[in-house]
Symmetry: C2
Subunit: 360 residues, 2 copies
């Protein structure tokens, strides 16, 4: 008796109401479970029936309710991202935004959403956010950035059984799927080489906070590259990822005695480098004549400033896209997702903020 009334036809509800699986089943003249099997690709439905169901779904413009599916414990069609930074830092550094753009670019075509949680830096806030995300099944997985040394998030996420993809350099033992170009060291190494070739002998590095894995990683690369290209060990200043931090670091580096000033400085990101160029100019130090400056990230900002910024470029948009691809593979290992092209290692983009050393 397939024509039996399902007891809940569309006309009994508001006209704007979304059609349900029952409506589709009624129209196709099959049971609700048959429809479910069809849309989930389960076996046990003949080709003609399958086609009838598909047609009916199409005609009613029906798609399964994400909420109901989520309640059942299956996919929520959303990916989470928790940023554990004060929100104003986020606003200043476009790094995140670019990454998010890349992520969205991959998410949008398949109708996935990005659930963003910006929590402050208070201890426990981040953990709470992940717990909620997991317990409430709001997302299928999370994308993390900026692995910290001894990062507790991975263990937490494992406990919560929340699939996670890390963007960037993982800590030695982080048990996590991570997305990054091979040859991460290429960028900083090329930068040091570039400076060495320009005749610079005193090169400094302004690093980010040293609890970040990538801060430490890049610093190490910096130090070994100096040695490799025959330069003396350079000064390293650890700073916050802020313009203020960069300004303070610059002032420290440019303080007398003049002959100990570095002639070139690498910064942990573009925002810092740009802020530093300004600070230098205010101190009467001209870039690149008196000081060469190199940033990291190759954000659009670098093209907008004067002099245009020489920087180490990584294709953050592509990194974001790769992260999503990795997430999808993690969520559904069977469905063969097209393997994305490998990420290109970071490379030096030479613009105007570096020039020949004018002092020994």
């Amino acid at each position: 008796m397939t024509e039996r009334d399902t007891g809940r036809s569309a006309r009994q509800r508001g006209p704007a109401a979304k059609p349900t699986i029952a409506d589709v089943a009624a129209l196709a003249g099959v049971s609700v479970s048959a429809v479910s099997k069809v849309v989930n690709g389960r076996s046990g439905i003949s080709a003609p029936t399958r086609q009838r169901v598909l047609d009916a779904a199409d005609k009613l413009r029906w798609s399964p309710s994400v909420t109901a599916v989520a309640l059942r414990g299956a996919r929520t069609r959303a990916i989470g991202m928790v940023a554990g930074r004060a929100s104003d830092v986020l606003a200043t550094d476009p790094h995140f935004t670019v990454l998010i753009s890349g992520i969205e670019r991959e998410l949008a075509p398949v109708d996935y959403g990005l659930l963003l949680h910006i929590v402050g830096e208070e201890p426990g806030a981040e953990e709470r956010a992940y717990r909620r995300l997991a317990e409430e099944r709001r997302v299928d997985g999370v994308i993390l950035t900026e692995s910290r040394i001894g990062d507790p998030r991975f263990e937490l996420l494992r406990q919560l059984r929340l699939p996670a993809v890390l963007v960037g350099v993982p800590w030695q033992s982080d048990p996590v799927v991570s997305v990054q170009a091979t040859g991460q060291e290429a960028g900083v190494r090329a930068a040091v080489r570039h400076l060495a070739e320009l005749g610079h002998r005193r090169v400094a590095y302004v690093s980010g906070p040293e609890d970040r894995v990538h801060s430490v990683f890049r610093r190490r690369v910096f130090e070994s590259a100096l040695a490799e290209f025959g330069l003396r060990p350079g000064r390293v200043i650890v700073s916050e990822f802020t313009a203020q931090g960069a300004v303070a670091a610059t002032e420290e580096l440019l303080a007398p005695p003049t002959e100990e000033r570095p002639t070139a400085v690498l910064f942990a990101n573009d925002t810092m480098a740009v802020a530093a160029m300004n600070a230098a100019r205010r101190l009467g130090v001209e870039v690149p004549r008196d000081l060469s400056v190199i940033g990291y990230d190759d954000l659009p900002l670098g093209e907008l400033v004067y002099p245009r910024l020489t920087t180490i470029g990584q294709d953050l948009i592509r990194v974001g896209r790769a992260a999503v691809a990795a997430m999808f593979r993690l969520l559904d290992p069977d469905r063969a997702v097209a393997e994305p092209p490998p990420l290109r290692p970071p490379e030096l983009v030479v613009r105007e903020s570096t020039g020949p050393a004018t002092r020994p």
Copy 2:
């Protein structure tokens, strides 16, 4: 028979499973419905019972499953935002990011999430995104930006019964709750006045696309302010909100004959203004000596460039927060949310990119 087994106690499921309302009910020795009444503040539960339930919920660290509640048709504890821009534009202009930071600042403390959908500019993409959001009850409401002339989104959202808050200037008849400072015209007016006082006589305006309500609004203010301060009508160039657009506009404005060049230009946003300063410099025009430049938004970027940017500041963080406050009032008119302090009108922030006119 309150001790009756609920048939689904915690120990029967995985140890990491979230407790359900049934677990709480069992622990408190009441029915499931009693717990529901307590957490939803309905009447019919005595004070001692209520306390027992609250204690039990606390002990089990239980909170209602958002998914289940959403399926029932109540709150989802998430706000949506659909950005109908190509994702790379989003990445370049931090305007959105700052706004989102403000929104999150208000959302995070009450455990609301922000569901971001960045869709391309193809026609219909945005509409589809809103439909999905509404049909699938993924969000309680949406925050919109950049009202367009004859904007179809508001009618759509009304049909979908999706509460909406608009950030910025609404079109005359847009039936929507909007958040903006009173006295929007103050910014551009102050900028023109500032330039007039510096002796500028030929002032140009580089506007954004004219389908945006705020583009047209600001342009009108610009034109009437010129008249008000005794200046001749100035050239207006309509451009995309991109660095490239700004560069092209600048080249057009600075083209010979030299004596017709404007001595000051206002831009629709900071990114454009900064790009323009660079373009001018490449043409041998020095800012502010030969050309004064004013931006709009007062993004952190303005402090980082040289010369530091004079701009029209609006507190986007606060605007974002106000939008969320308005949304909460819309969702729950009864619960008296503390009325936020009124938004301050945009005001001129004078830095280094404006100076006295050196040509008549």
